[in-house]
């Protein structure tokens, strides 16, 4: 009886250790491309003449970033993340930096984790106000004149938060606050990759600020790489 108990405990411990080692060894990957079909709205040029210090930073006029596309119908700035199946992760030590440069947000879409430090920097010679329009988290609005220290904050609940500057109405961005570390923001070529996924069933969600949200189920076993593509319906307006 006792021997049986010990052996059961040992077996369970072994399975746990194996699972742990497996997770450490990298696990599987979900990767793919985000694309659009149809005709997306043409990016509109932004008139920065009211803010000469920003206007002179751009040789060619800057265009709106609500839809950013690349060759072969690729769609950039899509947040691809594991919305179900993965446990919540502790926040990483490094801060997520949101820069204001040339009266634009860099990056346009910033993804980071719940309770991860957010650092907002003003690299311009003009005052910005940072106004993240949170609904689930707390909404705040702070002025950041040139040369002042970064604004440090964090969010304690997952949410997609539109960010704007009320002084410069063309400035729009997004904070994507996510529960775990498995996320990726698609690049200009639409490419994304979610590595280090332990074996299991996952829901992969892709979010775009103009075209909404899509989900796909994916099962990862071992260290395989699964390809998941997301195609968004583009709207011409």
């Amino acid at each position: 009886m006792r021997a049986r108990l010990i052996s059961t405990v040992a077996a369970v411990a072994l399975i746990f250790a194996a699972a742990l080692l497996h997770a450490r060894a990298g696990g599987g990957t979900v990767s793919g491309k985000t694309t659009y079909e149809g005709t997306p709205a043409k990016p509109k040029p932004i008139d920065m003449s009211k803010e000469p210090s920003c206007q002179k930073q751009h040789v060619t006029p800057v265009t709106t970033e609500t839809v950013v596309t690349g060759p072969n119908n690729s769609l950039a700035n899509v947040v691809v993340y594991i919305s179900a199946g993965a446990p919540d992760d502790a926040a990483p030590g490094q801060a997520a930096t949101f820069d204001q440069k040339g009266c634009q947000y860099i990056p346009h879409v910033l993804a980071f984790q719940v309770n991860q430090q957010l650092k907002v920097v003003n690299d311009d010679q003009t005052s910005h106000n940072i106004h993240p329009l949170a609904k689930i988290n707390r909404e705040w609005n702070k002025s950041q004149p040139p040369g002042t220290p970064p604004i440090i904050d964090k969010y304690d609940k997952p949410e997609f938060i539109p960010v704007k500057c009320n002084v410069h109405p063309w400035m729009h961005g997004t904070f994507a606050v996510l529960k775990n570390s498995h996320y990726s923001v698609s690049a200009q070529d639409g490419g994304f990759s979610l590595p280090n996924l332990p074996a299991g069933k996952y829901t992969v969600t892709a979010w775009h600020e103009s075209y909404g949200e899509q989900t796909q189920e994916v099962t990862i076993s071992g260290s395989e790489t699964k390809t998941v593509n997301f195609v968004f319906k583009a709207k011409p307006y």
Binding site: E139, W140, K142, S143, V167
Partner: protein, 297 residues
Amino acid sequence: MSAHKIAKSLLLATMVLLIIPTLSVAQQPESHMGKLTGHADSGKQLYYRFCWGCHGFRGDGSGENWLPTGSYPTMPYLNIQPRNFDAAVFKCRSTPTGTLPTDEDLYNSVGRGFVMTNMPSWLSLTSQQRADLVAFIKSFSRRFKSEKPGDPIHVPAETKLTVESIKHGQELFQKLECWKCHGPEGRGDGPSASTLTDSNDQPIRPYNFAVGSRFKCGVTNQDLYKIFMTGLDGTPMPSFADVIKPEDAWDLVHFLRTLQITNKTPELALWESTKEGAEQIASRKPYGTPTGSGVKQ
């Protein structure tokens, strides 16, 4: 078990059952302002008599005056959407941006009303009734159950009013780019004014200093100090608490007072007594220019 024992345990059970509801009543939301304690159950009666026509049945700011029934497309009777208590985002606070207001902040707002909106001053109600309303208003949002109000921003003693402080305040008005929205003369007609929207995407006008004497959140210099230090949450007006030192903040207050050309403040009188100030005031647009002129909405 004897009949006596059964009766005893029954009595005990009845007592327990009687105590439970009393306990839950004791946990009803309250508001506390100094010696005043407001009770939500009394506030509820008042709310559904005086407030819900604008603020709505559920306190979400969509009362009949905002969304009148029977008209399509809906044409609100009000030009500014009433506060949504469910979101618990409030303009007039003593607490930092992004935090809940204190009970006293809400109590003061109910009594003061909001200048240039349809929210009147409710001084017609007793102080106890206003306190009761605050307790009930808080029950609309879960935030008041899970979060505590922020620590009020410390307002240090006002610095001495001098010509130098007004001049320095004017520099700050330029440097912090207050004029981008409020306009060079504080008339609410700056270059960004026409683009402004509140957090519900409703158009909103920056404050016009040239009309009247009342601000959104009070009339005193302390109130004005608090407005730009806390920011008016839910509007484009940000908090400057991290970027203005307290002594500079008072200089800015002194300058802002000189923009109130229809309100004969000590600041305006002192500024007008100097050559530079008199010239500046004389060169301003004539009194009577429409509020926020040039603002298309």
